[in-house]
Symmetry: C2
Subunit: 344 residues, 2 copies
């Protein structure tokens, strides 16, 4: 039996060794937060940055030509470029635990590698200068657990907004035939919409049963979405797998996950979005045996890429369906309560 | 007449509108620092990361496909990935001055864009955990002046080492026929060597007159260089011009500056180096008139690229020739004093 707080469609932490933690502050001028994924030793990491307005840190070391193939954590945070300070706190927690790339002669002499990406949520709590600092990264890293953690409007999703609705953090996973696990976590703050205004339902199915909202609710949804002012937005996230991938393949895994983003969010990858996805491979499962024909591994890798895109799309939809109001922006199920009637 | 502290071969600040400042701490377990270049409004910025071990921040927004073509400052710092925290302090200084990309309705609601790169100098002052934080970035930004500032073993060059010798910050400039100014600033912490051990002189000429060291000095130089242990190293820097370049061209300008680095440092771009160069174009000088034949601008742009590479090579050599001992690593002119006899 999954623990009671486990999302029905799975979680990024279904990839063994990955721990996720959130930190956030809401109310009294605040509405922002940070989400951190701690990675197991030897995890191979790639990235694909496809938005026009990215805010990132330590992504160049994920280039296939750069030497080190691993990273120790990934930091996703609100606060626009200011929020990159959250990674300082994640580094401090890891360094205190002796986790990082060894660079000296003593055991604690390490440099933790913490690739990071931000969403724009400045001022959404009411005070422009209230944004994540190193303390947010520190708290999220300390809170990280290797089991399902909260989702919806938590962590880096606290200040998220998507086309006038409250955004959030969504997650999803799938076990493939043969046992390879693929999972995703998305922080949805997209300028585009996850909802088809005709049906009032998400473009892509998530993991919560939904039914068509009433005509009145659909009209209310259209009003909310039409009244929203295009702003600096972004979807950032992680796809992860237990498969053994090279660093270049981890980058490809992230790149194809953007296709899942494209299915779930319309339009997407705009000049206002800083859409960035990290790809993580923990290496537990080889995709082929030594005596398999060469094509076998490529075919299986293709399947992992496809499931990664599907998980990322589900994670995006889950983020918005599970969102709860934290400030001015109404949540989807608040505008369209009958859509979620079956699960209530 | 240039001011008395002006480097003889010019300075990055010879490009009008660019201000440079240093902050460093040496002694009592410290030997590290930060150098910040504040850029004029509208400066177009690109980047080329060619080393195998980069530590960077906000480089993805410099990609030609990303929306914003400008940045407000560039932060070069010691401290390996930990040192990326210095950029937090640079952002704070700029935000307090209202400088940044406008994102809100109020004048002060800005996000300063501060692309950054680091060198590895951890532990060189004696204490592994003594590294630049936000305060270093803040001090360097506040100290920035639009006129020649110190060079040699200052700022981000304080903890620098190159093949057993003290590294440093070097700078150089050149005014092209027609008045376009090209300039460079390099923080030399290369795993490779800037010195030909046969002649005892730099591979590439800098701006200080040198003569061949004595046989005894050349032997001492070889001993220092051979005793050095390959470490995590990096050369980082900036090339800048008054020419009007597109963002993609500013990236190309940075890319060709790596050729100057290749001439000055041998070997270079190794798997241990995080070599990163930013290209800055302030846009004062159009490279062609509207009625010039189309080829004219390309030919002139080529000349700017070539001079950028030459300035970057000179800046690298100047960094090592002007270095002074701050810790365990001897300075070049300390090992080979007769090389600098003419200037003393």
């Amino acid at each position: 039996m999954p623990p009671p707080d486990a999302p029905p469609g799975g979680c990024l932490t279904d990839v063994p060794g990955i721990a996720v933690g959130h930190a956030h502050r809401c109310g009294r001028g605040w509405r922002t937060g940070t989400t951190v994924a701690l990675l197991p030793p030897g995890a191979v990491v790639g990235v694909d940055v496809r938005g026009g307005g990215p805010g990132t840190r330590e992504t160049d070391l994920l280039h296939p030509q750069a030497t080190i193939a691993t990273a120790h954590a990934i930091c996703l945070t609100g606060g626009s470029a200011y929020g990159l300070a959250a990674a300082d706190g994640v580094m401090a927690v890891l360094a205190a635990r002796g986790i990082g790339f060894p660079v000296g002669t003593e055991p604690g002499e390490v440099v933790p590698l913490v690739p990071s990406a931000v969403i724009f949520d400045l001022g959404r709590g009411g005070v422009f200068t209230n944004r994540p600092d190193a303390g947010f990264g520190r708290r999220a890293a300390v809170a990280a657990r290797p089991r399902p953690v909260g989702n919806g409007s938590v962590g880096a999703g606290s200040g998220a907004r998507t086309r006038g609705l409250q955004g959030g953090v969504g997650t999803a996973s799938q076990v493939m035939p043969g046992g390879v696990v693929v999972a995703a976590l998305a922080v949805v703050n997209a300028a585009g919409s996850l909802l088809n205004t005709t049906s009032g339902l998400p473009w892509e199915a998530g993991d919560d049963p939904l039914q068509r909202p009433t005509a009145t609710e659909r009209a209310a949804l259209r009003r909310v979405m039409e009244a929203s002012v295009p702003s600096l937005n972004t979807t950032i996230g992680i796809v992860a797998t237990t498969a053994a991938l090279s660093k270049a393949e981890a980058g490809k895994f992230a790149a194809v996950a953007h296709d899942g983003l494209a299915r779930a969010v319309r339009p997407v990858h705009s000049l206002f979005d800083g859409d960035t996805i990290f790809g993580v491979a923990t290496g537990r499962d080889e995709l082929a045996e030594a005596d398999d024909p060469p094509r076998t591994r490529t075919v299986r890798l293709n399947a992992v890429l496809e499931v990664g895109a599907a998980c990322f799309a589900r994670a995006c939809t889950n983020a918005v369906v599970r969102a709860t109001r934290l400030g001015d922006d109404p949540a989807y199920l608040e505008v369209c309560p009958s859509a979620g009637r079956r699960r209530m």
